[in-house]
Symmetry: D2
Subunit: 349 residues, 4 copies
């Protein structure tokens, strides 16, 4: 941590800052410069609260040098985290995993058909919301536990693993009973009681980046989960808020290599929420894999025009088949082939 | 709702959109134009899900005309909502209410001194966090129920009403037992289970705008609370995320008159989080009142340099006295005097 | 400047960074820490190009400590810059100056009426665009020199000083011939040839903040003007781009006290562009003055419904009279009364 | 255009809006709804100024339906624009063009070496700035005409076409004399006199997206060029401003397919400015090509640690060779092979 003094700070003020640093239990290294003095705070472990220093007379600003996150960082753990699922899919290894399915579970017919179609196209994980956080209280809010049961039935029929969202500790109890992966959605990325609860779950956690979360905040949210003991975290880039309304969100694909430099955790990409526009999903799925994503999560609906949520960004099953073909070639080319398809899946391609 | 067709949409495609609108139970009014056809969807109540229409062939875009929120809107209720508290303070009427106190409750001595100082300066509501949502899991997370008990003791001693944050349904149970106002923080603005729970509370709710929430999303979050039956909602502008790091957030004061046009709910301003810099708090408190805010919430700490959180933006008690003097004159000038001070408060000014 | 090394940087890499700093002509102060080594670069004048250091092996990041701007900073010049105009108005002193008038000069009748109305209400400077930078090539682009002549005629008739925009060096030649203040608009804030040309003008310059410019970039743009020798610069906050479309821009009033801390230059506020909505202009004008703005620039049109540009945000003359009354009381209360009105002006209030 | 009336608008107010529409020369189609009346404005050509309508009593908002741009749109011209260069490179066709070279031309040795290295790796266009718009007036501003001469010499030696930036009409005179493509940089995207001048140039124009420009604004800026008669425009996505400082900009790759839907103009991507970090350039170059970019522009410097500008994001020549190999495979896979290499180029791969 660096304490930058004002250019007209007096030597008493510099001495005051040094004394406060000592009182906090650290060492101080003043560096007088031609314009101003800066003081290095040495001996900290990356978790110094800067507030005590900001208020001091003569202090211009405090610049953190250490990173505030710890266990999620590559400096803490050099090797990639690898998350294995019961159906054999591995996330975070050499292969690229594909999760697909409808935004919401709407009925048995809908989810069974979706599951069969995405499995046939080569996906190995089924997505589908049973608990839906919706901006308006008047929108469809999900089938709840009944939705989870339908997902479990789809797993039985196809061998797909299940990823579905929990929105509070109560729904997390149910989700971890039925699903293979517990999803924490973008709106809940900084819902700390929920993160802590997920940190005590035996299931892997898919943590989506918040609507306007920095990469640092995403990693700190993951740190909440990891600090409770759950090492199986999959991060997800799904677009952030922007000033341009042409797309639903601004899909930040550079976050993928950036996260991979800073952290050992796998990161997948969601081109459906990332763009919000059906015919932009496939090009951005290609781009995400080319950027090095460890997986994709894509909305596919048997009949998007009848979807109860997110129909505008859901692929038709045939479009998903085509997307998989395009993505597969890129994945192979960069030496990171797609996972699967599942042994039993009646293949489309 | 307006369905805009592509310029080269065929008449079959236009007819298809019309049929879908009919199938959804609404009327369709096609308007052929020189460049393209648009179709008005008539007879809706503001809650049509546009997804079924977005996917149709020939459709360029869907433009919502009705507002998605309902009970929070001025069109639903013309008169201002007025929120009365047990100590006589009224929020949302002609007078401007002031809430002040430390970011976190840290100890009995700290909160009692803070309470006495802010009451003496003329505030009538005490703020102080017992449950703290912190970006890092390694930061101080609050005293919990013990903090609530200290707040209640401060109320007894001073007559101040209490506002404090709940972070999940469990902490909300405790908060509503001890506090006069339940706060939902910015990070939880779209935590829907928590909003619904707050909607079933007998206490008024202070709902802070999310870090990157639009005004529409803020109103929809309030709609979650209102739709559960709790009419006593106070909105709060506290700055939004921006590209500039000179201030902690970008304090969106225009949100105040905009919300007051769109909604009957009162809206207060938080210049402490809005700027994040102690010596910018007073000018922005002045500006907020001049913009028409129904109240202020300000961080004040007996000794900011020792604060366990947010010390850099907390006012010293003497600075708060000065802030109140400056704000009072502006409030009087625009015909909206400050609430209070409390009858028993030993006045500073 | 601080060079932060990776936690696993070798001592050769640290030595390499030190050598490069020496080769650049500065001193190096290594500070080994428990997690990583940081190296202070000492002896610079705030203008070191960090690029040579970023690329070095073992370097994690470069943190600038000095500010990149110089002559515009308060550290360079402690006292406020004061900009005097020929008609006696002073900008940047104790008094608050008001500029008002239509977005564009449209006709002699329009500008003469606008001038008389704003002068009567107490403004001392007339705004009006003769060269209009418009987002679409098909929108009205201004009357050019003819517009400047009409402005000069309005000055003769009323005594108002004139502020109007230049969009390239050629139009600046004309503007500085006719106007009292040369405006550089938001879209041209980083048009460096234009800034340099303005820096060689004998006229004061009104520099508007760019659509997504940080405060640091605004100050660096002013540095371009100042470094050419023109000390008479007035900065202007006019709202920045945001994710919310409720208002045209996000009006960043905290920029006013922030700029006043960092720089000696005066800063005024533009609530018309800052909000883009007529009935939000007056509350935000009040807020701007309460925040400490050194002046206001407001769009007023004799008949906004017929305006060729920005009609939606222009005040009716009677609304401007009311705005002035409200603003005057706040200005008086904070000890910074409004400039004017002009001696000869037939007063409305 | 749709005029949405307030829910309590009187029938006189509705009639007033209808009359104004008629007075503007268009037809009005009122659509009474259950909540409010909306009025369709029919017969316009996409360039109606909404200002006259916004101000009317009873009007809630104005919603544009037509797009404000015209000649750049796919609706105006169905087939892709193809920009041919003298050295045989074609931009906007089936093949993907690669532009590479240093940020600035610094010396004959530097630019000649850069040219040879990028040509050998397969690029067919050389980038290099002679006029540099820099945020600080104290940073290196380019060699001017001397830089252009060195670029021309590099073209002679290698056969590479030249792209370089003009910053004002004067420098554009020189740039169009020496270069094959005139670049308009991000900071000048809304410098309309410069855009108009570029529109009268015989050279193709590379137009970079502004720092916070929406896609619509980018297309309107291109419309300025096209409306002056120059059809050879190449758009460039180079990252936009964001709240996260991990990368220099937020690289908006979804803009590529979005622009390709809306416009017939080719669009290339700049992963160097898009990320600002050397080791993120190659993954994002791969992603850009996978997303369907019509070309790449990449910073390559013979010795980035000595670069006078942008060293931190410049590739070493060997890194560029590797980037080209990775990108080539993806380009081939999606059926859009790379242009080149030039006939005479001594190939590296």
């Amino acid at each position: 941590m660096l304490i930058v003094m004002k250019h007209n700070a007096t030597s008493q003020e510099v001495q005051g800052a040094v004394s406060t640093i000592h009182a906090m239990g650290y060492q101080a290294r003043p560096m007088p410069g031609s314009q101003r003095t800066a003081i290095g705070l040495v001996g900290n472990d990356g978790r110094v609260d800067k507030a005590r220093l900001v208020g001091l007379p003569g202090v211009l600003e405090i610049i953190p040098v250490s990173r505030p996150y710890k266990q999620v960082s590559r400096e803490w753990r050099e090797e990639d985290t690898v998350v294995p699922l019961a159906n054999g899919t591995v996330i975070g290894g050499r292969e690229v995993a594909v999760m697909a399915g409808p935004c919401s579970v709407e009925s048995e017919g809908q989810i069974m058909e979706a599951a069969e179609r995405v499995a046939a196209a080569g996906a190995t994980i089924l997505r589908g919301g049973a608990y839906k956080p919706r901006t308006s209280p008047y929108s469809f809010q999900g089938l709840g536990v009944e939705g989870l049961r339908l997902l479990a039935r789809a797993r039985e029929a196809t061998g797909l693993a299940i990823v579905t969202e929990a929105v509070d500790p109560e729904s997390l109890d149910s989700v971890e009973e039925y699903a293979d992966i517990v999803q924490i959605g973008a709106r809940n990325m900084q819902n700390y009681p929920l993160l802590r609860r997920a940190g005590r779950s035996p299931r892997p956690v898919l943590l989506k980046r918040g609507l306007a979360a920095t990469i640092k905040e995403l990693l700190l949210a993951a740190e909440y989960i990891l600090s409770e003991g759950n090492p199986n975290i999959i991060l997800c880039e799904r677009g952030v808020r922007s000033f341009d309304t042409e797309t639903r969100n601004l899909f930040d694909l550079a976050a993928i290599p950036v996260v991979q430099s800073l952290s050992h955790l796998p990161i997948i990409a969601d081109p459906s929420h990332g763009t919000g526009i059906r015919d932009k999903v496939t090009p951005m799925a290609r781009a995400a894999v080319a950027a090095g994503a460890d997986g994709l999560i894509v909305e596919v609906h048997p009949d998007p025009s009848k979807a109860l949520s997110d129909g505008a960004q859901s692929l038709h099953p045939e479009e998903f088949v085509e997307m998989m073909a395009q993505v597969r070639g890129i994945a192979d080319h960069i030496g990171r082939p797609l996972v699967g398809p599942l042994a039993g899946a009646r293949q489309t391609v």
